[in-house]
C-alpha cells in the first residue's frame, strides 16, 4: 500500500507511467548468448561493491610501514604501507581475504566475460549498422578493463606485481621520442617512485571506474534505444524483436544470473586462493621471483614479449628497443583493428544497410576465418606467456618450447583461420545443420572457390531469407496474419503463422485501435490484418504448458500401459498359457 502510494506520488509529479510501461514491456531475445554481456555487467557490479570495501582498509602509499599482525614471517618487517595494509587485509581483517580474493576473481571473470561477449558480437555481425557506435563503446570498455585490471594487480606492491610494473614501464619507455617522458610524467620520476602507488590508486578507484560507469550507461542506453538484434527465425523480421518481456520473465532470469555470478565469485573467493601476496613478499629493486606471469588478460602482451626475437633498430642514431614491437605496436594494432572492424567490413562488403537480424557465424566465412585466426593468434600468445611453466611441467628445455611457439604463433593462426573459413563455407553452402553432418562432398565444394557473392556472403535460400529481405513491404504471405482485438478498454494484437505454428503477442496494450494497427504494421509490414471481436484468444503456449501437456500425455500413456499390463497379469496369474474361462 505504501509502495503503491509512493509510486503514485512520483507518477503525479514526473509522469513516469508511460515510460515505465514501455520499459517493463521491452522485449529481450531469448537466446543464451545474449546473457554473456550481462555476466560482464554483474561482475562489474561485484567489482565495485567489493572494491569499495577494500578501499576502506587499503593504504595507497609507498611510505614505510612496519607490518604487525598474525602473519609471522612478515611480523615486524618494514614494508611499504600499501603492501603492509594488503597483508593486514588478508590476515588480520575478518572477511578481508574473502573480499580481496573475490575482487580479484571478479576482475578475471569481468574481462573474460567481456571477451566472450565481444566474440559473440563479432561472429554474429551484431556490430553492423546501426550498432557500430556501441561496438566502439564496448571496445573502449575492454581497453579500460585491461588497464584497470593491471593497475589493480600492481597496487599491493608485492614482488610479483613489481616485476609486472617494471615490464610495463619498459614497454612504455620503448616508445620513440616520448617514451621516457611518458614514464617520468606518469610516475613522477624514475621507476620505482613514491608517487607511483597513489597515482595508480586514483586511476584504479576513481578515474577509470567513473569512465567505465559512464560508458556502461551509454552502452545500455544505446541498447534500449536501438533495441536488441535477434537471430532469424519464424516471425522475426528486420522490423521487430521477438522474445520475453523485461517484466516479469526476463528480469527474474536476469536477477538469477546476477545471483549466480555472485555465487561463483564468492565460491572462488573463498575456496580458491588467488594472488597470495604474503608469499611473494614486498616489491624490492634487485629481487625477483619465478615463474613470473601477469594476470591472464595481459598475458598475450607478455607472451608476445617472450616470443619476439631480439631485434632492435636504430633510427638516426636513436634506439628503438625490442619491446616496442610486441608491446606497443601489437597492442596498438590490436585495438585499432578492433575499433576499425565494423567500418573495414562495411567497406569490403559494401553493405550499408541497417541490420536487426544477426548472422549465424557460418553465414560470413571471411569474418569467421579472420576471427578464428585472431583468436588463435592471441591464444598462442597467452600460452607463450607460460612457456617456462610448460617447460617445467613437460620437462623439456624452455628454449625448445620458445622456438616451437615462435613457429606456431605464425603458422597455427593461418591454419586455424583457413580451416574455419572452409568449414563455414561448407556449412553455408550445404544443407548440413551442424558440423557433424558435413559430407566429404560439401568440404570438397567449399575448397573450390567459385560461387562467392560479394563480400563472401552466401545465404541459404530457405532459412535466412529475412536477412536479404528488401526494405519494401512484402506481399501477403499465405498463412500469416495479424489479429487485433479489443480487450477491455485497450487494444491488443498478435501475429500468427499457422504453417510454422507460431503465435506472438504484442508486448504491450495499446490505447486505440489506430495505435495497435500502426504498431503491427511496423512489426510485420504487408501482413494482413484481421480484427477479431469477442473472447480473448488463449495466451501464447509457454514452456510450462507444453511441458504439462507432454508430461500429461506421457503419464496417460504410461498409465494406460500399466493398466493394460495389470489386466494381462490378472488374466494370467501364473503365466502358463490361457486359461479356459
Amino acid at each position: 500500500m505504501i509502495m503503491d502510494r509512493l509510486a503514485r506520488a512520483f507518477d503525479d509529479r514526473l509522469r513516469l507511467s508511460p515510460l515505465t510501461r514501455r520499459a517493463l514491456a521491452k522485449v529481450f531475445p531469448d537466446h543464451w548468448s545474449f546473457m554473456l554481456g550481462e555476466i560482464a555487467l554483474y561482475s562489474f557490479v561485484a567489482l565495485v561493491l567489493t572494491g569499495v570495501y577494500l578501499t576502506l582498509f587499503f593504504d595507497p602509499s609507498s611510505a614505510d610501514r612496519v607490518y604487525q599482525g598474525s602473519y609471522a614471517p612478515l611480523d615486524g618487517t618494514a614494508t611499504s604501507a600499501a603492501y603492509a595494509s594488503t597483508v593486514r587485509l588478508s590476515w588480520d581483517v575478518r572477511a578481508g581475504l574473502l573480499i580481496r580474493q573475490t575482487h580479484h576473481w571478479a576482475a578475471l571473470i569481468f574481462v573474460a566475460a567481456i571477451l566472450v561477449h565481444l566474440v559473440r558480437i563479432f561472429f554474429t555481425g551484431a556490430f553492423r549498422k546501426p550498432r557500430e557506435t556501441n561496438w566502439l563503446v564496448g571496445v573502449t570498455m575492454l581497453m579500460l578493463a585491461l588497464a584497470n585490471g593491471f593497475t589493480g594487480y600492481s597496487l599491493p606492491d608485492d614482488l610479483l606485481s613489481g616485476l609486472g610494473l617494471r615490464i610495463i614501464v619498459s614497454v612504455v619507455e620503448s616508445i620513440p621520442l616520448v617514451g621516457s617522458w611518458l614514464v617520468f610524467l606518469g610516475l613522477g620520476g624514475e621507476f620505482p617512485s613514491d608517487e607511483m602507488i597513489p597515482r595508480m590508486f586514483v586511476s584504479h578507484v576513481l578515474l577509470v571506474p567513473a569512465v567505465l560507469v559512464a560508458l556502461v550507461s551509454v552502452h545500455l542506453a544505446m541498447i534500449v534505444r536501438q533495441k536488441h538484434a535477434q537471430f532469424p527465425g519464424p516471425g522475426r523480421t528486420e522490423h521487430n524483436v521477438v522474445g520475453s518481456r523485461l517484466y516479469p520473465s526476463y528480469s527474474l532470469r536476469s536477477l538469477a544470473l546476477f545471483a549466480w555470478v555472485l555465487a561463483v565469485l564468492f565460491a572462488l573467493g573463498g575456496l580458491v586462493q588467488i594472488n597470495p601476496v604474503w608469499l611473494y613478499g614486498p616489491s624490492a629493486p634487485g629481487q625477483a621471483t619465478s615463474p613470473a606471469q601477469p594476470d591472464w588478460y595481459v598475458a598475450w602482451g607478455d607472451g608476445a614479449l617472450r616470443l619476439f626475437p631480439p631485434w632492435e633498430i636504430h633510427i638516426a642514431g636513436h634506439l628503438v628497443p625490442a619491446p616496442f614491437f610486441p608491446g606497443v605496436v601489437l597492442g596498438g594494432v590490436t585495438f585499432l583493428a578492433l575499433y576499425a572492424w565494423p567500418f573495414l567490413e562495411r567497406w569490403c562488403t559494401g553493405d550499408r544497410r541497417a541490420h536487426q537480424l544477426l548472422d549465424r557465424p557460418r553465414d560470413h566465412p571471411v569474418r569467421m576465418g579472420v576471427g578464428v585466426m585472431a583468436l588463435t593468434f592471441f591464444g598462442v600468445l597467452v600460452v607463450a606467456a607460460g612457456d617456462d611453466i610448460i617447460a617445467r611441467l613437460l620437462r623439456v628445455p624452455v628454449y625448445d618450447v620458445l622456438y616451437v611457439l615462435r613457429v606456431l604463433v605464425l603458422v597455427l593462426p593461418v591454419l586455424a583461420g583457413a580451416l574455419a573459413f572452409l568449414l563455414a563455407r561448407a556449412l553455408c553452402r550445404s544443407d548440413a545443420a551442424r558440423l557433424g553432418e558435413l559430407t566429404r562432398a560439401d568440404l570438397r565444394a567449399a575448397g573450390q572457390g567459385a560461387d562467392r557473392r560479394a563480400g563472401g556472403r552466401r545465404v541459404r535460400a530457405g532459412e535466412a531469407r529475412a536477412v536479404d529481405e528488401p526494405e519494401l513491404p512484402t506481399p501477403d504471405r499465405p498463412g500469416q496474419r495479424i489479429e487485433l482485438w479489443p480487450d477491455g478498454g485497450v487494444w491488443r494484437w498478435r501475429y500468427r503463422d499457422e504453417p510454422a505454428g507460431v503465435t506472438l503477442l504484442n508486448n504491450r496494450a495499446m490505447l486505440t485501435e489506430r495505435e495497435a494497427v500502426d504498431s503491427a504494421r511496423l512489426a510485420y509490414p504487408g501482413v494482413d490484418h484481421v480484427a477479431v471481436p469477442g473472447p480473448p484468444p488463449p495466451a501464447p503456449p509457454g514452456r510450462v504448458r507444453i511441458a504439462l501437456r507432454r508430461w500429461g500425455n506421457a503419464a496417460l500413456g504410461v498409465s494406460l500401459l500399466v493398466a493394460a499390463l495389470r489386466q494381462r497379469r490378472q488374466r494370467h496369474p501364473d503365466g502358463d498359457g490361457p486359461r479356459p474361462e
Binding site: F184, L185, E190, G269, N507, P540
Partner: protein, 288 residues
Amino acid sequence: MSRRPRVAPAPSGVNRRIILSFLVSAAGAIGFAVTYGLGGHTQWEGACLAVAFVGLATGLAIWGRRLVPVGGYVEEHEGFVPPPDEQALTAAALSAPDSPIRRRGLLAALGLALTALGVAALFPLRSLLPWDRARPLRARRDTPWGPGVRLLTAGGQPLRPGDVPAGALVGVFPEGGTDAGDAPAFAVRLQPERFTRPPSAGHLDGLVVYSLLCTHAGCPVRLYLKGTGRVLCPCHQSSFNLFADAAPVAGPAARRLPGLPVAVDADGYLRATGDFTAPPGAGFWSRP
C-alpha cells in the same frame, strides 16, 4: 495491466522448489553471519555466501522459467532512418538565420580561444614530474654508481673481494643509493681463463660486476646457473653469458648487461671506479 488469466496455476512442486531454494539461501546467509561472528574463516565464509547466492539464483531461475511465460512476445522496431521531413525540420531549427553556427567569423575566433585554452590546460600536466627532479634523459643515464662508491650487500655490509666466492652470486647495491631502481648489480667470480671475451668493465682476478637489470624489460636477472656462467631473467627467459662479457645468448634481450668497473680500496673494500658501461635496464629512445 492485463486482466487475462496468466499461466495455469503453478504445480505445487514448483512452488515448493522455489521456497526451498530461498530457504537454502537464507541458511547460507545465516551461516555466513555465524562464521563471521565466530571468528571468521575464509573458506567457510566463501562457501556460505556461495550457498546463499546459489539458493537465490536457483529460486529466481525456477520462478522465471516455470511460473511466468517465457518468450512469445513481439515488439515492433521503428527503425533508425528518420523521415526526411523530420530531418529537414531539425536541420532548419539548427540553421535558422540567427543561429550561432552561421556566424563563421565568430565561430573561428571562438575556436581559437578554446584551442588556446585547451593547450594551456596541458601545461600543468608537466607538474606530474616535479620540476626539481632530473629530466628523463639525465635520470636514465645516471645511476647512483660513480667513482669511489662502495659496494654493499643486500644486508648493507660493505663487500670485500673475498666475500664473493666462486660459484656464488652476490647482489650488490651502491652505498647511499640502495633503494634506487636502476642501481642493483651483482658480483660473481669466474675463472679468468674461461673468458671468451674480456669484460668491458674489467675484472679483479675473475671477479666481475654487472647490472642486475635485464636489457630487455628491466627485470632482475637473478637466476644464476653456476658452472655455465649464465644468468637468466625470470620474466622473459633472456639469458646472458658472463664469460662473453654478458652477451645475450637466448631469449628476447638484444644488448649485453652493462658492466661496473670496480677496484679494491685501501681498507680492502670494493669500490666502483665509475658508472655502468652503459645505461642499465631496458632500452629507450635517447639511449646512447
